[in-house]
């Protein structure tokens, strides 16, 4: 600190350059008005209606998960409530992007399955018979097993070959595609006797997995997913063959049985959807401990990085040991019943890290990561009953103006008091408060853009209150200087001695505040999180201003005879200190 005190001007200059840079950033970002919260400006209200009947617990759990998702970084201060017994109302401040709505609504059921068979299908209209039956799992009744087995087996082999030669954009695939299609067309002829009787029952209740009847023998078949991958049971293959993409009704994803489903997007090279026959889920989305979006090294596409817990990473290591290096053996990452990517293992993965690549934009990747991070929703929502509307502010307009007027009046009183009590030094308090205010405003603007920080009325009140706490560090400092002068030091010496002591006190006291902010931010949810953020922000700004503005300013002022000689208005004259005579300084 000796150096700082020697050149107080430099510190202040650097500080102001930093502040100016912050405002340049604000100018680049281009918003000069802070983002206001729900209570002050209103926002978007999304009403979600659950499909079917759901229990109160599930609804509450879903509301909690959605709350975590929208408040991901915790400063948006969105409100999530349940309504009636099957609705969730989400209120998000400001205008909401489509991605945010996706983040909220997405069920985010992620599962890892092994790919047994894969084939591209054109997204052309498909014959009615297969399209009505394809939804869930594998609805083949045991009676058909022998027949399907005979016809299924050779097909399975062929498809497997397609799988084997299948680097994603190979031309050969196109050649094979019609092949499989033809076989698909064969399929209905294979079981016309079943489809009329079966499809109605299935179409009626596509969400129920109990419809699927697996014989004990067949269940045995997919118990060991790795063997099943190379030789899937005929029942499953039959359903797979009958399946076309895109599915007309959403696929029901039951983790305990094999799944036939489509890729989420069309293959950019062929313009076709890909259909998959997948093993039962091996790693569940509940094993994900964290998810983040990022660009992997040496790549340009955004990806979502996943970290699995102990159980998930053990399973992943086991699979990768068995499958590593074999490009024909792929696994699929299934999100809400659709395959988002089907990579193969390049080597053994031990650390439990995983990556989902796809054609993500930055926003999509971030949205998906946020959805995954807070777990899957226990319920699904009816898209047709989803409503999105703009809502107005919940607080009367007079509350904001009244709050701000009161705050400004309070601040003026504080300034008058400081001037009255500290006189010349009071100017330093006022200047410091103004600088702190300017810094806070810049930060609020920047954070509104980068982290979605919104100002609610309690937030504004909190910032006004923070003024009191900020001013306290100055008061501690000045009282220290006066104490040092009372014990016989000249002003210039007293400033430095007082600074050392006041610094220790303020750092100790402020670290308690910062601790409070950090802990509450990590553990709490909702409004408390937003508050913790504001508290931490104002405390850090307090320290920054105290170190880089107030102290250099006082050191600098101590060079003027007005102060060190104890002018009557400097606040440091003998009478003000309660001394009879001012201690003489070196130059005094």
């Amino acid at each position: 600190m000796a150096r700082t005190s020697a050149r107080p001007g430099r510190t202040v200059t650097v500080f102001f350059i930093g502040l100016a840079l912050a405002y340049v950033l604000v100018a680049v970002v281009g918003t000069w008005k802070p983002a206001l919260g729900l209570d002050l400006e209103g926002g978007t209200q999304i009403t979600l209606t659950a499909k079917g009947s759901v229990s109160k617990d599930n609804l509450n759990e879903a509301a909690n998960i959605i709350d975590s998702r929208v408040n991901g970084s915790g400063v948006t201060e969105a409100a999530v409530t349940t309504q009636g017994n099957n609705q969730i109302v989400v209120q998000i401040p400001g205008n909401t992007s489509n991605n945010l709505i996706q983040t909220v609504v997405r069920q985010a059921q992620l599962r890892f399955r092994l790919v047994a068979q894969v084939a591209p299908t054109t997204p052309t209209p498909t014959p009615p018979a297969p399209s009505s039956s394809p939804t869930t799992g594998l609805p083949v009744p045991p009676t058909s097993t022998p027949k399907a087995q005979k016809s299924g087996q050779p097909k399975a082999k062929q498809s497997k070959q397609t799988g084997k030669n299948r680097p994603p954009a190979l031309l050969g695939k196109k050649n094979l595609a019609p092949d499989t299609k033809k076989k698909n067309k064969n399929k209905p002829s294979n079981k016309p006797s079943q489809s009329p009787t079966q499809s109605p029952t299935q179409g009626a209740a596509p969400t129920s997995t109990s419809e699927v009847t697996y014989t004990a023998q067949n269940q045995q078949a997919f118990q060991d997913a790795l063997t099943w991958q190379t030789s899937p049971d005929p029942q499953s293959v039959a359903v797979y063959n009958a399946f076309t993409c895109p599915a007309k009704t959403p696929v029901v994803d039951d983790p305990t049985i094999p799944l036939v489903t489509c890729s989420q997007d069309v293959d950019p090279n062929t313009g076709q959807y890909t259909k998959y026959l997948l093993s039962p889920a091996l790693i569940e989305g509940t094993s994900i401990t964290s998810a983040s979006a990022g660009i992997p090294q040496n790549q340009v596409q955004w990806a979502v990085n996943l970290q699995l817990d102990g159980k998930g990473s053990d399973e992943q290591r086991r699979l990768s040991q068995a499958m590593a290096g074999d490009q024909s053996k792929t696994f699929a990452i299934v999100l809400d019943g659709k395959v988002i990517s089907a990579p193969f293992f390049q080597g053994v993965i031990a650390g439990g890290t995983s990556q989902i690549t796809g054609n993500f934009t930055e926003d999509e990747a971030k949205s998906l990561a946020t959805s995954l991070k807070y777990g899957a929703l226990p319920i699904t929502f009816d898209k047709s009953k989803q409503t999105i509307q703009q809502i107005g502010p919940s607080l009367a307009g007079d509350q904001l103006t009244a709050g701000i007027t009161a705050g400004i009046a309070g601040l003026l009183l504080v300034m008058i008091y400081c001037l009255f009590y500290y006189r010349g030094l009071g100017l330093v308090v006022i200047a410091s408060l103004l600088v702190a205010g300017a810094t806070t405003y810049a930060m609020v603007l920047l954070l509104a853009k980068t982290a979605g920080f919104t100002l609610t009325l309690p937030g504004i009140a909190g910032l006004i209150v923070a003024v009191g706490i900020t001013a306290d560090s100055f008061i501690v400092f000045f009282e220290r200087i006066r104490d040092e002068m009372r014990s016989g030091k000249s002003m210039r010496v007293a400033v430095e001695a007082g600074w050392v002591r006041a610094r220790a006190t303020c750092v100790a006291a402020d670290s308690v505040s910062i601790l409070a902010a950090v802990v509450l931010y990590i553990f709490a949810a909702g409004v408390v999180k937003g508050f913790a953020f504001a508290l931490g922000l104002s405390t850090v700004i307090d320290l920054a201003v105290f170190f880089w503005f107030t102290h250099p300013m006082v050191s600098w002022l101590a060079r003027f005879p007005f102060f060190y000689k104890g002018h009557k208005l400097s606040g440091l004259d003998a009478e003000n200190l309660g001394l009879d005579r001012l201690p003489a300084g070196g130059r005094a």
Partner: protein
């Protein structure tokens, strides 16, 4: 102002001193009474939880898009709040979409619900068919409360560790936490007694107190530590040093409280008196009470409690006794020297003399001898007191070769 400054100087030097630490019983009694009142209020009246915690009723008023304005929303808010139903005091009214206004209140009985509907009809000219009633759940469910409480507990544990790590005295941690609990109970009790509604804004306010109360206590404790660092040299007991610290930081405490309370007071005034309801009032009340209590407790509770706990420590007690003996000695340096009278018998056997040297001692004892007898009763408890001065400490230069001044003839010739 000059007088106040003069007071600051006097407090600093200790010329004027307010006995904060000595009158512990008084402060404990005052705080105890307030806390008992707070707990009784909490027990009998309970907290008035708001819409966000309990859920409630929602009225959706459909109307023409030209009517869905902020003005109409404000009108509805005032009208519904004026119905006199307690549950509608904290009504939340928002415009929703192009052609509806949402009105949310705390749970209503069917009769009250009809009353609110009638009010809505009269205020904005709609029919019953345009109003739909719904039940809404709390946005601050158990989960949020649970997580906040976990956060609070973790914070308290860490803060105990932090204060202990900084001051190296776990007793300071304990005193700070007791002061914090004191502030929180008083604030929550005031909410119970005043019947103000507990909203998320209140929770925010209470959490602010958490930081502020500890902040205040740490500032005072920092001075206490500074003053008690070298008690031997300053000839003060721990309690006296702590008291001096409180007195020295008193001016700062008063100034800080004024500076912090002025803006909060302004917001409270506007929120409670001018607006009458809303988030401002809830937040400002919690802050005002909590900050005032925080300033009070750091002076009147935390420091006396610390000194109280410290006074049980062996070395603090020993120092106290030693100082007592020393001060007694200083008041009358010759107290233990017997007064001589003419033809006083002189005994040759000092051991025969009973241990007494006082005026009021029996005459037989006084005749015992003229040898100065040690003062055996400095603490008033009849025990042998330690020496007024501690044992001689080894000098800081011991163990090193000291420069010696040789006689002139032996010094090096130049």
């Amino acid at each position: 102002m000059g007088k106040f400054s003069r007071l600051g100087n006097d407090l600093y030097t200790g010329r004027k001193s307010i006995d904060f630490v000595g009158r512990t019983r008084l402060w404990y009694t005052i705080s105890g009474l307030i806390i008992v009142a707070a707990i009784l209020g909490l027990y009998f009246r309970g907290l008035n939880f708001g819409l966000e915690f309990r859920g409630g009723a929602q009225f959706t008023v459909s109307m023409d898009s030209s009517q869905v304005t902020q003005d109409n929303a404000d009108k509805l808010r005032n009208a519904v709040a004026d119905t006199g139903i307690p549950s509608t005091q904290q009504v939340v009214v928002t415009t929703a979409g192009r052609n509806s206004i949402l009105i949310e209140t705390e749970p209503l009985t069917p009769v009250e619900s009809v009353q609110v509907q009638n009010t809505i009809e009269q205020t904005v000219n709609v029919t019953k068919a345009d109003i739909s009633t719904d039940e809404i759940g709390p946005s601050w469910g158990k989960e949020v409360a649970k997580r906040s409480i976990i956060g609070l507990i973790v914070f308290l544990i860490l803060v105990v560790l932090l204060i202990w790590g900084y001051f190296r005295q776990w007793k300071m941690s304990v005193a700070a936490i007791v002061a914090l609990a004191h502030d929180l109970i008083i604030t929550i009790g005031i909410y119970a007694l005043s019947g103000f509604e507990v909203t998320p804004a209140t929770v925010t306010g209470v959490l602010t107190i958490l930081g502020f109360s500890l902040y205040d206590t740490v500032v005072v404790f920092d001075k206490v530590r500074e003053n008690t660092k070298n008690l031997r040299a300053s000839h003060m007991t721990y309690a006296e040093a702590a008291n001096l610290a409180v007195n020295q930081t008193l001016v700062r405490s008063i100034n800080t409280s004024i500076v912090a309370l002025i803006p909060v007071g302004a917001i409270l005034y506007v929120g409670a008196v001018q607006l009458g309801s809303g988030a401002l009032k809830d937040l400002a009340l919690a802050l005002f009470v909590g900050m005032a209590a925080g300033a009070y407790s750091s002076i009147f509770i935390a420091t006396p409690l610390l000194a109280h706990m410290k006074s049980r420590e062996a070395d603090v007690q020993e120092l106290e006794k030693r100082l007592k003996a020393r001060r007694r000695h200083e008041v009358d340096r010759y107290a233990s020297v017997p007064t001589y009278t003419d033809d006083m018998p002189i005994t040759s056997d000092p051991d025969a003399a009973p241990a007494a040297g006082r005026e009021e001692a029996p005459a037989a004892a006084r005749t015992g001898g003229n040898r100065p007898t040690p003062n055996t009763d400095p603490t008033g408890r009849g025990r042998v007191a330690p020496q007024p001065r501690g044992p001689v400490r080894p000098s800081s230069s011991s163990g090193r070769v000291q420069p010696t001044r040789q006689s002139r003839s032996k010094r090096g010739k130049k």
